[in-house]
Amino acid sequence: MSHLSRRSLLGAAAASLAAPALAQTAPLRLGVLTPLTGAGSFDGPRMLKAMQGVAAEVNAAGGVLGRPIELVVEDDETNPEAAVRAAHKLVDVDRVPVIMGTWASAVTTAVAPVCWESKTFLTTVSGADSITHLPHQGYLIRTQPNNELQATSHARFIVRHGAKRVFILSTQAPFTEPTVRFLTAVLTPAGVAVAGSLIYDKDKTSYRSEVDQALRAKPDLVYLNGYAPDVAVVLRDLFRAGYDGGRFTQSYALTVKSLADLPHDVTQGVITAQPSADVDSPAYAAAAKRTGVAAPDSYEAQATDWISIVALTIARAGEASGTALRDTVRKITNSNGVKVYTAVDGLAALKQGQEIKYEGASGPCVFTDIGDITDCRFRFNQAENGVFKLLEVG
């Protein structure tokens, strides 16, 4: 389907959903830039669908400032170069006040300057710490926990589960050094020794000597901070060396796919962590009902929150511009107003002149000055006979 026909289709859908009273008013055009192809193509289309669900719901209830939402959708192809072209089109041709959806950190890093230069607001799921430190002048928020939130949460889990000596084995990456620092900051005061850490070369086919070095420190938990290919090799080498202690890693480093491929003996008991949607919140229940997905994941939840926050902020500001979004967004997310869990409920409360606080499906959605979330829940799974069992969400 070409972009043009998809857009006209969306336009038609928006128009048909809009109440008759809205039919004459200009639609509120919001930009969506998710990966529909490339490495992010598993998450991008589902994020788009979650946003379309919220838009339809808002339009059925009368739109924002009396205008129906129309999503202008582009594909970032999980590719910075394609993403920048698409972002320019959204900004210069469609003149959207906001772009929602960049996924890969490299893509967000490339698109963010296009946004802040044109005073367009950007919402993203990219996790690299460096992103919120870009000079974005407030035109960016991310709902994904940054490095510090992730490592701190992992360390607290490790403390809770009684490990005494942790060894950190990492690949060479931008998050390597900060992760060691954030882990140590929580583990050491809690009486858990960081017995050592080493950075390995990701291109080696065997990590026997590295594993020997780690095991000399006699850890009872090995924290594996790498990507799927190297973590698979390290897990095998740990098994071969006769190590039977705990192993902890990110969910993207031991995926369902690699769990199915690796011998069960190798993965037995490995704990994985991933950012979790706020599964107990009313916002999450509403998102599940709206999307028709039994258990929406963190990405669907975050996309739900972006469009809800954007709709509410525009209604609160009385104006649909990137600068209004920048200046007003925290009056929706960081306020002490009455708690709302969906865009429709929030819009109704705003109409009655109430101050509101949007609580999201992905978490509380409270943002720091540089656009990071302050809190997030994490989901911890454990591999058992080749499948993941949920340990806890905390």
Partner: protein, 288 residues
């Protein structure tokens, strides 16, 4: 770090080096006969690894026949790809042929990617705990890899030393003009060398994957070490390639006594730099 730890590093290095031996021989053999560094050895390692994978994991063939398939398929791909992509360009000179080999390796690697995707694949072999003796540990699979590699190298030495074909190959390596004047079909020898060399590369690729996992980048990741081994041993010298591979394997492991593990790859570069600076002919190479 005590004596046992250093001994363990040396042992790990010998095992790693033994796996590099076969592709290093392939690289150096092509250099000896065809007179250019053929970096397509990288993708032929990958092709061999995947060929062995298909018969081992999908058709459940045992290890040895799978290794033979890895050798034959990589060898055949080597003959065809050379005839199509490299031979027409060789008259244009060494640099042209070398660049073409890099292009060829990228093309073949992406063909493998097209067919199998990017995900990691494992051979259908039982994973065993290591054996321990006297404070050292070694994996049963490592010993099998060592045996296969050693058998392949000995067989190759046998062919080169005691058969007419081997003599012809050495003659072409020594002096192609003289060899062709003596009635040796140099083009046919070129095919045989390509088949054998890329077969060795394919076998090495599979051995590399047996201990870990394979993906389309399997060969590419190892090519620096293979190149370093061939240069260190002396480009064109097959016994040199064996020595070079073992030396690079051990040096990479021992470097951990002085360097952080993520600097392990520096050993290969350093070896190339030192050899080219001080003894360009390598350990056993002959200056041409």
């Amino acid at each position: 770090m005590g004596f046992a730890d250093v001994a363990q590093l040396v042992l790990n290095g010998i095992m790693a080096g033994a796996i590099l031996t076969a592709p290093a021989i392939g690289f150096t053999a092509i250099y000896a006969v065809l007179r250019f560094p053929n970096f397509a050895v990288a993708s032929h390692m990958t092709v061999g690894a995947f060929a062995g994978y298909v018969v081992n994991a999908d058709l459940h063939w045992p290890l040895l026949p799978s290794a033979l398939v890895a050798f034959i398929v990589a060898g055949l791909v080597g003959v065809v790809s050379d005839a199509v992509a490299l031979r027409p360009l060789r008259p244009a000179g060494l640099i042209t042929a070398t660049i073409a080999s890099v292009a060829l390796t990228i093309a073949l690697e992406n063909l493998v990617r097209l067919a199998f995707g990017n995900s990691l694949r494992d051979y259908d072999l039982p994973l065993e705990r290591d054996w321990r003796f006297g404070g050292l540990r070694v994996g049963p699979q490592q010993l099998r890899d060592l045996a296969i590699s050693a058998a392949a190298v000995l067989a190759l030495f046998g062919v080169l030393g005691f058969t007419r074909m081997g003599k012809a190959m050495r003659a072409v390596a020594d002096n192609p003009v003289l060899a062709s004047l003596r009635g040796i079909d140099t083009q046919r020898i070129g095919h045989v060398v390509n088949f054998t060399a890329m077969g060795m590369a394919g076998l090495g690729g599979m051995l590399l994957g047996l201990d870990t996992s394979i993906d389309p980048l399997t060969g590419f990741r190892a090519i620096l070490a293979v190149f370093a081994a061939a240069v260190l041993g002396g480009l064109g010298s097959i016994p040199g390639a064996v020595l070079g591979a073992l030396a690079i394997g051990v040096a990479e492991e021992l470097s951990q006594l002085a360097l952080p593990p993520d600097y392990r790859s520096v050993v290969g570069f350093l070896a190339i730099l030192l050899v080219l600076s001080f003894r360009p002919s390598g350990i056993l190479g002959v200056r041409r």
